[in-house]
Structures are given as structure tokens and as C-alpha cells.
Symmetry: C3
Subunit: 668 residues, 3 copies
């Protein structure tokens, strides 16, 4: 695995005509060196129960191997065959709107023993058949696995059983979850009501956490099966996805990526993003940061991203290159397209692949050929890049779930992700390298700054670890609503922000929705005249303590006395508390205030600094705009894509949607 | 009951920690003299069938009594325990979208014999236990009872039985409801189709009326049970609510407040309203007027209103006082907050009480202390205030239901309430004191003006009583669509507006939606240049009769010949007919034209004139704005809140969101 | 049938009081010479199973006959009686949202043997009873029959059976529909999944076509029954309707009008349209063109259109006349209102008839009297008018269904109809007479121009016939997305637009959504500066062939090299290809470029040229605006409505919403 991979998903099964040799020839022209196969083809592999057909698998494996193209085998379980649904209707998932009907993928009950039995069988049969094939470099478990909003009887009973184990005394559960409210007490396990219709956020969040746990269990179970067959050098990965808003928008609420990734030997992901004038690289960067974080900063596989995709995604000239190298700069060691050829029937006809429906060499394919050539040429330089980021953002599925139970005002979206993206995008746009973490522990000391947005539900232990991080010299930007409730989504009855008051030295007992409100500075913090106060607004009071100062207050006839941003010394560190959702420039300024560093460029000119396996420092420069951009290099460097040397301070020009990669002269 | 009450709902059951003595101490500081308990705590009272637990009830009753705080006991029936739903799934209500799942409150079938049996038992057990406790001043039946869109088999069968009794000859029902249309005839009771899927507005409205009747019956049944236990001096009330649009917006369609109130000894209500910059007092006033009307003008209890409430409701300094005295000015003798402490789990965590989650003395609590002190000091002056309004608005559940079957154009809201609020708000803003009535009868003669908005469905008798009221010297402003259909929602085949043509002397057979249309005056009525014509527009023709004059016509190329507003003499009275939804200023002018009176002030400066039990005249002055306001007093008076005397004609100044109460010098 | 008919739907059953003689007298005054009865009155005819009541039918037939008014009998089957639903719940249709509850009309399962048995019985009983009555001129089968989204077990099983017959080898179905995708293969008929939840557009479109086929079968079955009873001179018709957007908007997706019309002796239709300021005549014209096309240009019946209709439709003075003569100009030989009297109960109370609820002579009725008089006077001149249009638009239910599976961007509407209306309206507004066709064959040679919008799914044979039409000298305007997929909705893997590339000499493999894009001309085609590029945008490349020229390209930084409109010579004809949705003026210019003709007037002044049965040429002139309009006559003519002669070149004036009909002097 010590090379850059350039890949596509390949479905011989979906072809309207014989294409294999033509396709491989076009792949080789484009530098494609890996294909992913099999992941949604159960019905072709096992057209009837117990009848197997390896025709497509075998011919693709053999042909790829002959051509030196590697293969990733996906277990075919994420789309079940019609005969299984027909024979065993109970394998269809039941959601709050009832049992689902056959048709879509990802509508099976992943805790159904019947489903698991059939799934195990097809995985074993397939792996038995292919396990010794030399083309195979690794396996993908299932695809974009989630719990599919499963509230079926199995899920429910297992959930109740898990609570029974956690709560030998049922009264403690009533206490933790506050079930007395609206007469929701449960004093007998057999009276447990349907968790999906509860109005109790504590119970509802516990159920959601359990549903995520079942995804973790399911992937671990598949991983265990695959491990029985795979060769030692073959990897096991999974294709994680993100909260979807027509593209990869934010943290996935239906899986705990960090927990589920433990079953993998390398993390994998799919990242889809706006394109054309809306191409910003933000999703590539945050998606990469999350996936890199799953295995302590290790490189990862982009198992799917768009080639042509939807009509609104058809890339402008240059964008496909820009995207590919943006993935690499984030730490990807594979960029693979979904998918090779556009599909002629069914649902994703307009989610186009690298080839259009006519299989001819279209402009996107022609641009891919330049990427494949660059990947091959620069594999040694660009494979296994290492990030050395000084800033991390703490995310939490638990906080997301709990916060989204209580969306401010009229919000309808996944508000946690709206907030996450506001913070993430601010730092991305300011060229501040960011890692994503899901815990604060001893390893966190390596970060100069940790940003904590909307950590709405957390146990005392995590909040105390944040305090300890600060005390030991760390710097934290703590966002509104953090610390508000405990791990049971019970609001703390101490003064808010609960345990974090210790480091932040600020408190509040009231909050409002911002309406016609501004900010004014009462410190050295510079504020723009129209600085937005969005979404939520806590009426903060700094502790009566010289170690905390108010940086800004609200400009408002009724709330003018309250603090909006405070800064506290705590031990050897510092804690900024932000009582509202700030605009991106202010977030940037606050993080820069903590880190003491300011980048020379900002969006749309994006720079990423990394270290390669030879120990050389590289700087990627991306122009995310339709107009040419200029920048001066801080030191002498060699441009590795087009070639040529640049002196320190020399100004270089990036074409619209252009990319440069500079390797700094060692010792310079 | 001869004092002002200042109260809170109190849930010892929901407390995350021991608080009782602390809470009582803070209550006493704030002048809280009544708490409401028990109303949603069935599962705590009866954690398993037949097992009872009075621990919370007893300790709260005893502690309150020791501190001199009164207690209202709510029957706990509006949120059922999980074990009841688990044991008897049939108690869950069935609506048009199916049988509801356990979780929310208010989802039981209030006509289910099983539910009624269990509900009766817990009421009797509770009352048996507490009935002699001296802290108790009264009982609240259930809470915000409605029919919960019940279309279950019991409701349906009882409805059909009621029709069988009403229609010994089924053919008459077919005739009254017009069931021949689209082959909907029913010639055999056993073929009666599901009423919830009917497309027949007559049948649908009859079913809705029956559903409301079942709420009336249910409350009367609970009242009967409570009456067996209560002491003679204890009251029976209910907490009515209103059509909800994120706050109390209009007349409640799912209860007939007037009919249901017959089971009560005193009316009660909850009123929630916009706050901060959107605080207007309108909901406090109309909600009070409705509730006052339920018992012929008697004082009522505000059993719930917001202290802090939602984030967007957190009151500006001064607003909590403004709200409290506005309730009193409307005739309330109790102002009670929902609720004492903010809840730490479940659904209403962000519906904050007087205390925040940290139980400390926040700014809202501190303001409440001033109210409690004023209530105590002024109880004699402000208790049992009497209104002497000269204008009444006639409302009708029947008309609302029928009209909303036929919403004009693209309207999606409860249009009847939109219209009601337009009329009500116009008069409120103009400081015209208004009562709400649900019938016109001999007692109505005391009103100088009756306003009749959208009385879409009414029997001949009511329309004739309106005519008689006018004939006898009353003045009426009759709104569009009044009189259009009969009590079966059968459109009248006489000329429109049916029976009201007699008094209004106007008719029409066509109507349109207003589009690019204005008004022009053809009388002494002053019209603004941009007077709006909203929602609906009847093409009126005045009778060929000298006793009717056209006040205004439509400005429109096609409809310019038609009258828009007419004025008719009828007997000793006068009838204005308004063929469209007018803007608030024009509505005000029309009512002032009838009453002959114009108030000196208008919104945001609101004045309310009342008489107290000593017979003194009081004037409340409310500044519903963020800027100071001035007014001159018509006569010498004493300001009772801050103290001090004012001479006739002297100008006084109200602070932003300020309130003054003037007691006029008798004889002055 | 050699006369003009002026009619109303008449429901003696719905009357709140005895009206028959009064009504007939008012009808005679208004020139009403035909009434349609019985079509929704099953429950009145058969109040209980096997009990029949002909009272209303008999008295209406007799009374009408005495007065010389003709009667159309509708079979009463489109609204079933409550007893049938009660006795046989399985007759209620099952849709994707479950089995429907009784209430609305048109919710029966038209493939249920039980329903068909009862329907056949009531049709036979009724026809047996009335068949010899001399008042009857014809029969209407059912009403607005559609498949009602039927996915019930009968529909599903019959569909699967039809596929079994079509596909003796199930593997061919998998291949045609591309079922391998997402593991949707079906290798055993008994595993066939619910067609309504499929995500496969090929399977979904095949099911929709089958549902439409069942409507065709149902009407043919009713026609067969009626034919057993009807007299030779009596007609059989059906009342087709259109895609509904609050009015008749476009092609009906739930019936194949052309196939279903084969069971009729004369086509019938209902057309409802915006009115007042929004009255344009467009729906009258396109609805007429579709209905005229069902029987190769023959005259048709407008069985329903609005008299007063909804409040927003109440006609301005003059509009009812304008509408009536617009129908006649399109080829109608009957204009009938739905309905005579406004209904006093139920659902359509505000869908008013010619009379309001008070049955008096309102302004709309008074205007109808002038129409009735003109129809009677001019029957000989205006009956059986013939169109001689040179332009046709090709429509396709198959293409609509398939295209709507893949709506561009965020589109939610029936996009096919949006496109159809853009093309149709452009030609209507430019006074280009248009026919609607659903195939191209030898008879198509009579058209100078055929317009082909969005022919997304079509077999090779149809595309080849289009090529042959052009080759033989025809001219075609081919719209974007035409030819893209085959009859199985499998995208072609040849270069796009597939077979049409042969005549259009243009191809593309990429397409985008238009965003900030314009057009620039690279030919003699004139373009406005702000010419819109809507909905979709194909990146076209003209073949390297002198016989094709690029007329316009896109103005866009990335796509400027691609063609937007091309023009090709092919054989003796010409093909314009339009790669995007153009604005109406550009569509008009392209059609005029092909036809070589430009009309002297344009909307709102609409002219229609026709030939009457005497062979005289007539020109209808319609002023669809609120301001008077002028035009010069091309030749001497006689105005037949008001009377009087006009010389060639003389200018005449049309009143607002006015209509003139000129008969040209033969030989002039």
C-alpha cells in the first residue's frame, strides 16, 4: 500500500453491452490502478437462495489482474435481493413510519437474525471463492452502513435489555431520564413504551446511541468474518458517509464513525460536494479531517467521490484536478470515483460516472488522464502525507443528538452540523489546518487550540478533561450551549456552563434568540460594525475574578449589560467562551487570538502544509475561484506538478481552479 | 377567594434534587400565595395499577400549608402512565392518521370506557386522600382538555347513535346534509362511512360538533366526581387553552369553551403570547375577554402564563410587570406561572419557569418579587374588578368549523381566527373595551355595539335574534359571509346574507377574491388612499330602500358598481354590513361610527377602565413599547402602584413597558 | 348532431327545493339545449343493493323532452354508494399510502371484479330503463376516469402477468429494465416486489403504462355495455380531464387519452382555466387541440367548463362570451357548464354554476343568455368547424412518465407539462395554429412543422419515423432530452440524441443545469440580450458536416465552446435542435424560421382561422385583455356576431375581452 491509488467503482453487472476489455484499456490510459467491485450485487451473485454466480466477479478479477489493476471487494450486503424480502418479509426495516417496502437499498433490519444469517452466508460464499485471487488488495465491509432509523421489534427489545443491564434499579433510569415528566415513568420493564414516539430527549438520545452502537456491532461482526478469509497484507475498510443535504454536509448522526472505525484496518469515506461556481473544497477538507481522525491521523481512502455526478456538478475545466489534489492534501492515499460508467437504467442515471452513457472520452475523462499520470509520476512524493495541525475541533454524536432535540427557534435542519460547519469553515477559509477529534485526552496536549462547538451533552469526566487540558497550558474556544446537560441529557442544575465554569469563569441563567442585536468590544478585540449574532444568545456574566475579562458585550436595549465573549486565564492556559453563533471572520479572529498565528492567504486561495514520508515539507496551493490568483512563497521551493523552481518571496500565479504543489528545499 | 392570587405550577416530582424548603422560602419572598400541583403526575401517583404513592402530594400540601401558601389540586388525567397504555392499548386515541403511540400527553381516547374507568379510579383515590387538607382552595379538572382529533370506534359509534336519535327518518339527514352529492347518500345506518374521511362539510361539521360535545361531557363527568369530595368553599376550574400558533392565537376549535364551562364554578385559562419586541398585550386581552365571558363577566383564573418561557420570550425588564397587571385589568383574579422551576429533562426543557435550571434568583424572578409585593399590597383595590364594556364580539364554534371547510383561495390557517383577530385587534388597539359573547339574547341589549365577524353557519333563530337586537336599538357591524349557511352548513337558497338581509338591507349573489382592488367612499365615511381589501369580497347591492345607504364601493374596472360597505336603519337600531376583510383602522372607524365614541389613545398606549369592588373607577395605563409615552389624565386621580396624585389634564409619563394604575377620585 | 349545443350539467338530486319547471324555463331563456345528468348519482339510483329509484331520472327526461332540451346520460359509476364500500371494502382503491377510506369520488379499484360486477349491474339497469327515451342524444361513460394511483393486489398481479407474457425469459426483463442495479434482479416471478416502491424508472414506467392501459380497458368495457343498449344515432363520449394545478394545466399522466378515446364515438373533455385578469385562452386552446386530436381532427364536446366557478374565477363582464366562442373556434360543437346551479352542501359549494345558490338571474347567467341566442342564430355557420393547422406538437405519455422520474434540479412539478406548456403557449401567443399528435406517421406529412419537446423515452421506430418525416421534406424543432432513452427507459449508449443524431447532426455527452448563462448568436438568428436558458442545458457539438450549422452558443466562462441551437439539412427537410428550455419568443422565432410564416397579431389579440361546413373561411378575433384592441382585416369580410361588413385593410376595434367573428367573402 505504499503508493497513490486512483480508482473507480466498476459494475460489470450493470453494463448494457460487452465492455470489459475496452473499459480496462481506457482505465489504463487514465492511470486507474484500482477498481472497487461487488458491493451492491447480491442479487447477481445469488440470484436465488443458494444458487451462486461468480461470472462477473471472476472475469473482472482476472481481467484486472492481467492489466495490473488492483481490486477492492465489497461485501454485497447493503442492498438485498428481492427473493430475500419475498421469502422473509421480516428482514425489511421498520421505521417510525412503518415497515419499509422492498425497492431502495439500505432498508434492511441489520439486527434481524434472519438477515444476519443470509448476509453471513453470502459473505462467506463470496470470500471463500475469491480469497486467493492476487488482484485483491483489500475488502470493503458493506457500504455507508447506518441504522436506517430502525425501530423494529428486535432493535427495541435489545435496547430495553441494554437498559435493564445498565439499570438494575429501574428507579435510577426514571431519575436519570426524568421520566416523571408528563407521567412517563416506567416502573416495570414490560411496560416500556415505543422508544421512537417518546417525547423524552434523554430516553430518545439513549435510544439513538443504542442504534449507533448496533451499527458499530454490525461492522465489527462483518469485519470478524472477513478477517477469517483475508490475506495478512489485505486491508479491511468501510465507506463512511456524512449528513446528506444533496451533498456531504456534516457529521453523520446515524453512525458513530470513531467507534465503528475500530473494526477497520484503514478508514474509508465517500465525499460528494457542490461543484462549478459552488466548489469550495470545504467538504473535501472536513470530510478528510474526520476520516483522518478515525485512525489517529493515518492516511485514508476516498472510496467514492464525484467524477461528473449530477448535472449541477459537471466539473468546469480544471476542477477535477483541483478536487483530486485537495483530497491528497488532506491525507487521502486513494481517490476513487463513483463510478466508471454512467448507468443506463434505474435511480442513479443522472449521477454520472467518469464516462457518460456513451462510453466515449468526454472532457472529464480527458482531465482524469492528467491526474492519473500525475499520481503515477508523483506517487512517491505524495503518498502517505502527514498533517501537523495545531488546532482541533471536538465533535460528539451524543451532543449532536441531544442538541437537535432542542433546536432553537424555527430551525429545521441538523443544527449541530450548521454550527459545526460554521466553525470548521471559518478555520478552513483562513487556512488554519484543523484536525477533528471526538475526545480530549492526554494526546490532545499536542494541540495549541481546541475548539469546542455546542458540546451540549457530556459527562463530567469529559468536561473535566477539557478543564485539565486548559489548565495544563492548552487554549480552548468554548462555544455556547457546551456543558449544558450531562450524559443523560439532564440539564445541569449548577450554574451554566456547568463544569466548564471552572475554566471559563463565566455563567448565565438566561438566553434568548438574537433579534436586532449587535456586539460592542470592551477589550482589544476588533469587531466589525455588522458582526452577526446568530441562532442563540446567552446572557453571560463574567465571574467576579480578575482572571477573566469581558471581550465583547451585546448591543441591545435590554441585554446590553451582558457579556457575549469572555476570556479567562486558567492554570497555564486560556479559555475563550463564546455565547452566541458568531460569523466566520470573528471565529477566525478568536482562534488566531489563541494560536497567535495568522495565515497569509485566505479563501478562495487555500494552502495546506504537510510533510511527506521522506520528511520533506510540501505546500499545496489551491485556487478555488474562477479568476487567477497570486501568492508569494515564504521560502524557496520546487513546484512538483508542472515543474520549475521558485525563489523565496517570488510571486507565482495560479490559474482559475488551479493547483500548485511546492516542495520546500530542505533546510531552507 | 376575596384576594388576588399570585401563583406557580409546582412539580416536586420533577425535581433533580431536594428543593422543597428552599423553593417555599423563595416563593414567600416573591409573594407567591398559591401553587397548582398534581395535574400531570398520574404515573408518580399510581406507578403500577392499584399501587399508590402520595409522598410528593402529602409533603407539598403540608409544607405549603405551613407556609400559608394555598394549593390547587389538578386531577392527573391528561397524561396517562405507560402501564395503562401497555395493558390496555385501546385507551390510546385513534386519529385520522391512525392510533397514536404512547409518549406525548393528551393522546388518550376520552370516550373509551376503559380509560374512563381508570381515570375515575385515580381521581377518586387522590381526592379521597387529600379532600380534607386545609391547604386546598380548589380543584382543576384535567388540563387543556380537547378531543384530540378522536375518530376512534367509540367516538364514531356514539356519533352515529346521536344522529339516529336526531334523525328518526334517515332521509331527513340526507336532505339536511345534502348527501346525494357525489353519491354520498346513506340509507342504512349500518353503512355509515368513516366521518373523518367525508368530503361533506355538513357531515364533517356535525361530527366536529359532536367531538366538542364529548369534551363538554367529559369535563362535566369529572366535575361530578370532584363535587362528591370537595368542600363547599373550594372551587372547580379548568385550564382552557386557545388555538395555538406557537402562542395563544385565537378561539379553540376543539372545545366549546362556553358549553364546557358550565361544569365549573370559576373559569380558568392559560395564555401564552409573543414577548420582547413582539409583546402587545393583545393575547392577554382577548384571552381574558373570552374567559371572562364564560361566566357572564365574572373574574377568572390565569392558571398558566409564561414567566421566562421560550428563549424568544425571555422578558425584557419591566415586561413581566406589564403582563401581570394586564391580566388583572382584564378581570383575572389570579396570575400563575407555568411553572416554578425549569425542567431538566424531556420535552419542555426550554419552556422555562420563573426559576432557571440553576434555581438561583434570576432577573425575571427578581421582577416577580415586585409583582408579588404589589399584589399583596393592592389586593383589596385590584381584586374582583368589573368591566363595563359597550362593545361585544360574537363568536361561534359552529361558524368557525363550517367556514374553515371553505377557506378562501390558498389560505391554510384557521381563517376564522385570522378574521376574529383582525376585528378583535382593531378594537384592542383603539382602546375600545370588548366582551366576547357566543350568543345574542336579551342580555345583549346592554351592548351599544355588537360585532359579528364571519358568522358563516347559524340557524334562523340566532340570525333573527341579531335582527331583533338591532330593531330594538342595537347597533351591529355584520361581517362578510355571515348568515350564508344554516346550522347544517347548508347554504341558504334565499338571497344572501339570508335572514340578515332584513336588518342589513343588502344582498349579493356573487363574490370574488380581492386582486388589485381598492375602495372609494360614497358617503361621509373617510377612507385612506390605500385601504386594504383582504381575503374575500362580496359584490353587494343595497336594497332599493331609502333606509340603506352605500358607504363605500370597490375601486375596480369590473366590480366598481358594487357596494363594499352599507349602512341601514332597522327599527330603532343600525346595521353596518362589511363585504370584505377590512384593515384594522377602518374596522375601528366603523365601530366608532356606531358607538359614537373615540378613545384618546391608541396602541401602543393601552388604557383599560374598570370598576373595583368598592365601586371605584380605575384606569390601567400600559405602555406596550420600548419608548416612553405620555398621556393626560381626564380627571384627577391617584396612582396606586408608585403612589402620588395627578390633576385633571396633567400629563404623565410611562416608562418603556411601563404600567400605571389610576384610581379616580370619586365624584370627580 | 348537426347543430351547436349549449348545455349544463343538471342535478335534480341535489336540489334543496322543487325547481324543475323554473329551471327549465330559465334554461330555455338562456338557449340551453342540452343537459347532462346522472353521472354521479349511483346512491340515488340504487339507494340499497338491488333497490332502484328512477324518480329523478324519469322526471328530468320527461320534462326536458317536453321542452325540447336534449339529454346526455352519464353512467353513474365514478362515485360509489356508501353501502357498496360498507359491504365490500375491497372495492376501495389501494394506493401507495394504503387503502383509501370512503368519502371522495374516484377512489374505487377499477380492476376489482367486485366493483366491476356492481358497476355493470347499475349501468345495465339504468340503460335498460332509459334506452328508448327520445330525449337522449348520447351517453357519457363514467367521468374523468383515471387509475387513481391503484397499486392494489389485482392491479399488481395483472401487471406481473402482463410482464410474464411479454417476457417468456425473465432474464430479458432484467436486462431491459437494468434490474441488476442495487440488487433489484428478479429471477423468479413469485419474488416480484411491490411495483409502487421500486426505485427503477424502467419498471416504474412500465407499471404506470400498465395502469393507463387498465383505464383504456375499463372505458372500452363500459363502451361495450352501453353499445348493447344505445340507439344508432346516439353517441358515446367520455369526459377527459387534464393535469390539474387548480385548473387544467397539461397532458393527463394517469390516462392515455389517445388510446382510451378509441372506445368513443365522439371525444369529450372538461376544461377549467384561470379567469379575470389571468384569463388567456391558452387552456381552452391546448385542451381543444388535444381533444380534437383524439379523433383525427373531428369536432368534440366540451362537457364541462366553468360558468362562475371559484371566487377567483367569477368572470368579468364579457369573459363568458369570450370563453364560449374560443371553445367553438378550437373545434368544439358543444359548450356545457358545470353546472346549472350552485350546490348547497358538501365539497363543491364554492365551485359555482351558472346560477348562484339563490337561483336568481345573476350577471353571469344574463351574459349566458346572449351566448345561447348567438349559438342558436349562428348554429349553421359555427357548427362543425374545421382546422387547417400547419404545425403539430408531438406528445407522449411514455416520455412524460419517464422524464418525470428524473426531474432536473429541485423541480417538483410535472416538468414534462411545464415544458409542453412553454412550447404550446409560445405558439398560441404568436397565433400559430397547432394540432397535438401522439405519433408521427404518414398522415404527419401534412404538417409543415412538427415540434418535439422532451421526447425522453421512445423506441427506435418512432425516432426513425421522425427522421423519415424530415427526410421527406418535413421540418422539425427537436427539443432537449429527446431520444435520450428507449422504450424501456434505458438510456441509449450510442451518442446522444440517439437515433435523432441522424437528422439533427449534433451530439453531446454532458449536460448541466443553467446558472448565470446566456446565449450568443453565431448565425442569422436574432437573439434578445436577456434570452433565458432555463431548466436544462446540453453541451452540444455539431457534427463535422457542412449540412449542419450552429445557430447559437452558450455565453458562459466554462461552456462557451458548446452549441445551444443547431440547424441541419436532412434529405428534403430541416431539423432544428434546441439544447435547453428557451423562452417563448425564441421558440416562436424558431418555429417561424421553419414555417416561413409570421402572424400579424400576437397575444393578447388572438386570431383563429377555420373553415366551416359550407366551406367558408372564418376568422375569430379574441381580445384577451382589459383594454380595447385594434386590427386590420386582410380581406373583406362580414362580421357575423354583431353584423356588418368590413373592407380589406379596414381597421376594426375589439372591446376589452371582446370577440369578433369574420366570414371572409368567398373568392375575395
Amino acid at each position: 500500500m505504499s503508493q497513490l491509488y486512483y480508482g473507480v467503482a466498476y459494475y460489470d453487472e450493470y453494463m448494457p453491452e460487452e465492455r470489459l476489455e475496452n473499459d480496462i484499456s481506457m482505465m489504463l490510459d487514465a492511470g486507474i490502478n484500482v477498481v472497487r467491485i461487488a458491493e451492491s450485487t447480491w442479487s447477481t451473485l445469488e440470484p436465488q437462495e443458494g444458487e451462486y454466480n461468480f461470472w462477473h466477479i471472476d472475469r473482472v478479477l482476472d481481467a484486472m489482474h492481467r492489466s495490473g489493476i488492483h481490486v477492492i471487494i465489497g461485501t454485497p450486503t447493503y442492498a438485498i435481493p428481492a427473493w430475500l424480502a419475498s421469502k422473509h418479509p421480516e428482514v425489511m426495516v421498520t421505521t417510525a413510519s412503518g415497515q419499509q417496502k422492498y425497492g431502495r437499498r439500505q432498508i434492511m433490519d441489520i439486527v434481524s437474525p434472519v438477515f444476519l444469517r443470509y448476509a453471513e452466508n453470502i459473505i462467506r460464499v463470496l470470500l471463500e471463492h475469491v480469497q486467493h485471487h492476487p488482484a485483491i488488495i483489500g475488502y470493503q465491509l458493506d457500504n455507508e452502513t447506518k441504522h436506517y432509523d430502525n425501530v423494529g421489534p428486535q432493535m427495541r427489545q435489545q435496547f430495553i435489555r441494554s437498559l435493564q443491564q445498565r439499570y438494575p434499579d429501574i428507579r435510577q433510569m426514571n431519575q436519570d431520564f426524568g421520566l416523571d415528566y408528563w407521567s412517563n415513568r416506567i416502573d416495570n420493564w414490560q411496560d416500556f413504551p415505543p422508544p421512537e414516539s417518546t417525547i423524552n430527549a434523554s430516553l430518545g438520545s439513549a435510544f439513538a446511541a443504542f442504534q449507533r452502537q448496533k451499527v458499530t456491532d454490525y461492522l465489527a461482526w462483518q469485519s470478524g468474518i472477513v478477517a477469517e478469509y483475508k490475506q495478512p497484507e489485505q486491508f479491511i475498510t468501510h465507506n463512511f458517509d456524512f449528513e446528506w443535504r444533496g451533498y456531504s454536509y456534516g457529521i453523520q448522526p446515524r453512525v458513530d464513525h470513531f467507534a465503528a472505525a475500530e473494526a477497520l484496518t484503514i478508514a474509508g469515506v465517500d465525499i460528494y460536494h457542490p461543484s462549478q461556481q459552488q466548489l469550495t473544497g470545504r467538504e473535501i477538507a472536513f470530510g478528510g479531517a474526520v476520516t483522518r481522525g478515525l485512525k489517529q491521523g493515518a492516511n485514508y481512502l476516498v472510496l467514492e467521490t464525484q467524477a461528473q455526478g449530477f448535472a449541477q456538478w459537471t466539473p468546469f475545466p480544471g476542477q477535477l484536478r483541483l478536487q483530486a489534489f485537495s483530497h491528497i492534501a488532506s491525507g487521502a492515499k486513494m481517490v476513487a470515483y463513483w463510478h466508471w460508467h454512467s448507468i443506463h437504467n434505474s435511480f442513479e442515471t443522472y449521477w454520472k460516472g467518469l464516462l457518460s452513457h456513451d462510453f466515449s472520452a468526454n472532457p472529464t475523462y480527458l482531465e482524469a488522464k492528467t491526474i492519473g499520470a500525475d499520481f503515477a509520476r508523483l506517487s512517491d512524493t505524495l503518498d502517505s502525507l502527514r498533517q501537523e495541525n495545531e488546532v482541533a475541533i471536538l465533535i460528539s454524536n451524543q451532543a449532536m443528538e441531544a442538541f437537535n432535540w432542542f433546536k432553537p427557534g424555527d430551525a429545521q435542519t441538523n443544527v449541530y452540523n450548521d454550527i459545526f460547519r460554521r466553525f470548521y469553515d471559518a478555520l478552513y477559509d483562513a487556512n488554519i489546518g484543523v484536525d477533528i477529534i471526538n475526545d480530549v485526552d492526554q494526546r490532545s496536549a499536542r494541540y495549541r487550540v481546541i475548539v469546542v462547538p455546542a458540546l451540549y451533552a457530556a459527562d463530567d469526566a469529559l468536561l473535566n478533561r477539557i478543564n485539565r487540558y486548559i489548565e495544563a497550558g492548552g487554549q480552548a474556544l468554548i462555544g455556547f450551549k457546551s456543558g449544558f446537560s450531562d450524559q443523560h441529557v439532564k440539564v445541569r442544575s449548577e450554574r451554566q456552563p456547568g463544569v466548564l465554569n471552572q475554566s471559563c469563569r463565566v455563567s448565565y441563567s438566561q438566553f434568548v434568540l438574537p433579534q436586532q442585536v449587535g456586539l460592542y468590544s470592551c477589550s482589544d478585540l476588533q469587531l466589525d460594525p455588522d458582526e452577526p449574532v446568530d441562532l442563540w444568545m446567552e446572557l453571560l456574566t463574567a465571574d467576579d475574578d480578575a482572571r477573566v475579562q469581558v471581550l465583547a458585550r451585546y448591543q441591545h436595549p435590554a441585554w446590553g449589560e451582558y457579556a457575549a465573549i469572555t476570556e479567562a486565564e486558567y492554570g497555564a492556559g486560556k479559555a475563550l467562551y463564546l455565547g452566541f453563533l458568531a460569523g466566520k471572520p470573528l471565529i477566525t479572529r478568536l482562534v488566531e487570538r489563541l494560536s497567535g498565528k495568522t495565515a497569509a492567504q485566505q479563501f478562495p486561495l487555500i494552502t495546506r502544509q504537510v510533510v511527506n514520508k521522506a520528511g520533506n515539507r510540501l505546500m499545496f496551493c489551491f485556487n478555488y475561484s474562477a479568476t487567477a490568483a497570486r501568492l508569494s512563497l515564504p521560502q524557496a521551493a520546487e513546484e512538483v506538478l508542472q515543474g520549475g523552481s521558485v525563489n523565496a518571496g517570488e510571486e507565482v500565479c495560479l490559474a482559475p481552479w488551479g493547483v500548485h504543489i511546492y516542495q520546500f528545499t530542505p533546510g531552507d
